[in-house]
């Protein structure tokens, strides 16, 4: 299959997380055999170049190819601009942690970038210097044109990161169930309808999985799980419950003003990140 990513980008500032962020980005670039582009919003100084160089020293030894970009201006604009110019196809953004609870959310800058970027975006909840293995990937299997490529990408990542388990989640929204459960008779009907939907979804997903290269799937446990709930939100909830290490989903076609006012789909995920999330365009 074609390599989904060739250039990885990350925005960096001098923060306590700097080292962890760089390590994660460099590791992923190596895993995906990509070029890494470090974007810094601010003037170029020799001192900065030296600091980044030292942090990445161990990766350069493993033949990491990286480039530093310094540009002044509004962080959102700068990063979006560099993404286009340098043809970045995977942008890594760090999430913020809510005080007192183990809840993560995407900060305002990262959120603006997420909404407007035209490349894939990886939101990391806790970057770390040491490698944390990715054991379980949850991927969205919505009935959508983008889904086959989403699932294929998830398998590619799983293959590169040596993941053991991939769960494909079909979110079936309540609106698809026309019958309302009032009494036993309706319940029986609902359950039959649900079972039918479940089978339909499962066979659709399995068709997609069939088309994926055998060696991509080797050594991996593939499961499909239909869930009934609100689109875009329930899958995050599921990833949290299933203790996934990475959630892969694709972004909805277009976000309008109303989507932000009445959050749905991706907006829900942005307010409470269940785990690392990869959003594909």
């Amino acid at each position: 299959m074609i390599k989904p990513f060739s250039t990885v980008g990350i925005g960096i500032t001098f923060s306590p997380n700097l080292e962890a962020n760089l390590f994660e980005a460099a590791r992923l670039s190596l895993f995906f055999e990509c070029k890494l582009i470090l974007i810094h919003v601010g003037p170029r100084t020799d001192e900065k170049v030296k600091t980044f160089g030292t942090i990445l020293e161990s990766f350069v030894l493993k033949s990491l190819d990286f480039e530093l970009v310094f540009q002044e201006g509004n962080p959102v604009d700068v990063i979006l601009d560099v993404c286009v110019h340098k043809k970045i196809d995977l942008l890594i953004l760090g999430a913020l942690k809510q005080e007192s609870f183990f809840k993560y959310y995407v900060g305002s800058i990262a959120r603006k970038i997420t909404r407007n970027a035209n490349c894939d975006i990886l939101l990391l909840i806790n970057p770390s210097v040491d490698r944390v293995p990715c054991q379980h990937i949850v991927v969205s299997g919505l009935d959508d044109l983008k889904t086959p490529s989403t699932i294929a990408t998830a398998f590619y990542i799983g293959h590169q990161l040596k993941t053991q388990r991939i769960t494909i989640v079909e979110e079936i929204s309540d609106h698809e169930l026309v019958i309302k459960t009032d009494d036993d008779k309706a319940l029986k009907k609902t359950n039959i309808a649900k079972e039918r939907m479940r089978l339909r979804e499962a066979s659709r997903v399995m068709d997609i999985v069939q088309k994926i290269d055998k060696d991509m799937k080797s050594g991996m446990l593939v499961k499909s799980q239909p869930i009934f709930g609100q689109r875009g939100y329930s899958i995050g909830h599921y990833a949290q419950v299933a203790r996934a290490d990475l959630l892969v989903m694709h972004s909805p076609s277009k976000l309008s003003f109303w989507d932000r006012l009445f959050p749905h789909d991706i907006e829900h995920i942005l307010t409470e990140l269940p785990t690392d999330v990869l959003i594909l365009r």
Binding site: T181, L187, R198, G229, Y233, Q240, V241
Partner: protein, 732 residues
């Protein structure tokens, strides 16, 4: 035979039982309907009209199976305000409008409305309604008709009425007061007497029969005037012809006014809450494990209310006490509701002159008891045991309802609950940010068993309980469910109480309902858990009662293991026929014999709901069997059983053993297997021993003799009988 034919056949087979049950229900419905109407200052017949239209309409169009409909006690307070402020004819118009709104609620699928109110606030509102009923009627019951300007005023006047009782001079009033007191005593002590023949007629009907008998005694035997003051006799029971002739004309002239619509809203709100709560409670008691279509029921109730208002009747709601009487008397489907209405019509047709002999104090005593049950100290005690903060919610709702009104009362209850939740969590944003999020995830785990897994995030309280409920309702109640709260920061009392109900329901219907992830919450002790506080209370200081020490001695004597503590682990009793319409609370004083696999225990269970609720304690024996036997029930043949057999239960006859067949009443589904099982030896064993009620669920036997705690001697007899019976069965 097709499924449809089968169900038609079943319907006709069960018809006699439903007619019988409808008859018994009509006996309790008659006095209640008269009393409730008079308490709302409507003509007494208005209550009957509501019950009859309710029974006729809802029986055909309703969505629940075992419920009885008619005038409800919760509505007395609102109807009273509507009738006094709007006048009777405008009140009928308001009733019709509220019926339309109720139908609208049904069409909008608002059957979940009752879930949006915190349960302590609902309790507070119901208690306030109880006090409104009790406060007003107490005075009439004692022959002292007064007028006060508020509900609280009536309550404050109660001591004065009690004192003035001793200075009554008018003979008519004294008689009225005596009748009132006697009637109240009958209501209070009726359920203490477990006499089968007395229990055939419900307490309210005893009061009616006795008071009518009383007036006939004076008239026919003493040849005197009815000594009760004429003001205290029921007035204006019209003939059917008169009802039709004097159809009231609902007066819609006030329809633009604020007070009209506030009445309509209050009527709709209370009618829907009372109905929904009753349906929920009755569904739990349904032996056939059906679930009700509440939205359809709301539509039917709405239509019935429109009809009732048009004919000059009160609001029609689902009523809990009458419905539970229906279940206890063997009603199986909606036709019981229909027949209850038919019998009420017959009563009015045949006995309207006799009904006019009922003294008001007698009827009011029934209502005083109803009011007391709604506001009894037991409720306060129960709420206090759940948590102090629940008591605040309860009393705020109670007092504001009494002082201002029902809608303000319940709304302030909601507000106070929310404020308390914010204070407990010291977190306002938790609720505001998450209230609209779809916080419930449900999926069926793959695998053979396919357990449903439900995970709840953020918080779960009365504000968003409906989302959880929606998901839980989609699960068949004979399946396994796990509800996980580990991602949830706060779970309130309303949710805990409802989950507890679900747990009961699932257990009853063969499923399994488990709640996980709350252990992490136990750190904050302020967490309001409904049933944590309900755990068995250990014997203080370890002191035993006399019976308990004798039981201990008996255990030592017979080499049994004795355990005095209460336990709620009663699942092993659920599939006995006897408990199908009863709710087991707990068992205690267990005498366990591991060698024989038997267990004698005291048990507390309840029958019926609300004013028809009876708490019964009994001593029973449970014997596990090594081999499977048919399911059956055997008891002494008595008048009651003959009665039941008319009503559709069938006694299995034994032609070769006429004496056995005459003396014992044997019941079971698989007639052939039972006939084969009861061989001569077993029959002789039953014939030659004491009577016990014996029931088999296939794997175990349940034995008891009386519906009360057994004495030591009786326990020994039970032990001996049980062990010998097991031997006889095992030897086969």
């Amino acid at each position: 035979m097709s499924l449809k034919n089968q169900s038609i056949k079943k319907f006709f087979n069960e018809l006699p039982r439903n007619i019988f049950s409808g008859f018994v229900v009509s006996l309790i419905a008659l006095p209640l309907a008269l009393g409730l109407a008079m308490a709302s200052e409507a003509p007494p017949i208005a209550g009957i009209i509501a019950a009859v239209t309710g029974g006729l309409v809802v029986a055909f169009l309703g969505g629940s199976h075992m419920t009885i409909t008619g005038p409800g006690n919760g509505l007395v307070g609102v109807l009273l305000i509507a009738i006094t402020s709007l006048g009777l004819t405008s009140a009928y118009a308001a009733i019709m409008c509220s019926g339309l709104l109720l139908m609208l609620l049904g069409f909008l699928r608002m059957g979940k409305l009752a879930d949006f109110f915190p349960s302590s606030a609902i309790q507070g509102m119901l208690a306030a309604i109880g006090l409104i009923i009790l406060g007003k009627q107490f005075h009439i019951m004692l022959g002292n008709r007064i007028t006060a300007d508020s509900s609280l005023g009536y309550l404050i006047e109660i001591p004065a009425t009690l004192i003035s009782l001793f200075s009554l001079t008018d003979k008519g009033l004294i008689y009225a007061a005596i009748i009132g007191v006697i009637s109240l005593l009958i209501m209070l002590f009726y359920h203490k007497v477990r006499n089968k023949y007395m229990q055939l007629i419900p307490a309210p009907m005893w009061i009616v029969l006795l008071s009518i008998g009383f007036s006939y005694y004076f008239e026919l035997i003493l040849k005197q005037q009815n000594p009760i003051h004429p003001d205290y006799l029921i007035f204006g029971i019209p003939q059917v012809a008169e009802i039709i002739r004097d159809l009231p004309e609902p007066d819609f002239s006030l329809i633009g006014g604020f007070s009209f619509w506030s009445s309509v809203l209050a009527l709709t709100l209370i009618a829907s809450i009372e109905s929904l709560l009753s349906i929920k409670a009755i569904d739990k008691l349904d032996p056939d494990k059906r679930r009700s279509n509440v939205n359809r029921d709301l539509k039917a109730l709405g239509l019935a209310t429109v009809g009732s208002g048009f004919l000059g009747g009160l609001n029609v709601v689902t009523v809990i006490a009458r419905s539970s009487v229906n279940i206890n008397n063997g009603g199986t489907n909606r036709s019981a509701n229909f027949f209850h209405a038919v019998f009420l019509v017959l009563f009015i047709l045949l006995f309207s002159t006799q009904l006019a002999r009922i003294p008001l104090p007698a009827l009011m005593a029934i209502l005083v008891y109803t009011g007391y049950k709604l506001a009894s100290p037991d409720i306060v005690k129960k709420i206090f045991s759940i948590g102090r903060e629940q008591l605040i919610i309860f009393f705020v709702t109670l007092i504001i309802t009494l002082e201002v009104g029902l809608i303000t009362g319940i709304l302030s209850g909601v507000l106070v609950t929310f404020i308390i939740h914010v204070v407990i969590n010291k977190n306002f944003s938790l609720f505001i940010r998450n209230v609209l999020k779809p916080n419930v995830l449900m999926y069926k785990e793959s695998g053979q068993e396919g357990t449903y897994y439900v995970s709840v995030k953020h918080f779960c309280s009365f504000l968003n309980y409906y989302k959880l409920k929606e998901k839980l309702e989609e699960i068949n109640q004979s399946d396994d469910v796990v509800v996980d709260f580990s991602l949830c920061q706060f779970v309130d009392h309303t949710v805990m109480e409802n989950l507890n109900n679900y747990q009961d329901l699932f257990t009853k219907r063969g499923g399994h309902f488990e709640v996980l992830g709350l252990d992490m919450h136990s750190a904050d002790s302020e967490h309001p858990f409904a049933f944590r506080k309900h755990l068995p209370i250990p014997n203080l200081l370890g002191s035993f009662t006399r019976r308990q020490s004798s039981l201990q001695e008996l255990a030592a004597d017979f080499q049994l293991h004795y355990d005095a503590d209460n336990t709620k682990e009663v699942a092993f009793l659920e599939n006995f026929l006897f408990f199908r319409t009863k709710e087991i609370d707990h068992i205690f004083n267990q005498l366990i014999d591991n060698k024989m696999g038997s267990d004698i225990f005291d048990i507390e269970f309840s029958e019926g709901e609300f004013i028809a609720k009876e708490i019964i304690r009994s001593t029973m024996m449970h014997i596990r069997l090594d081999s499977e036997i048919p399911e059956f029930t055997i008891d002494r043949e008595g008048l009651l059983e003959r009665f039941y057999s008319i009503a559709g239960y069938r006694d299995i006859p034994f032609e070769n053993h006429p004496d056995f067949s005459r003396r014992f009443y044997l019941l079971g589904d698989d007639e052939q297997a039972i006939k084969a099982f009861f061989d001569t030896e077993l029959i002789h064993f039953f014939e030659s021993n004491r009577y016990f009620h014996v029931e088999s669920n296939g794997k175990a036997l349940l034995l008891f003799s009386k519906e009360r705690l057994a004495s030591l001697k009786e326990i020994k007899a039970l032990l001996d009988f049980g062990h010998r019976l097991k031997q006889v069965i095992q030897n086969k």
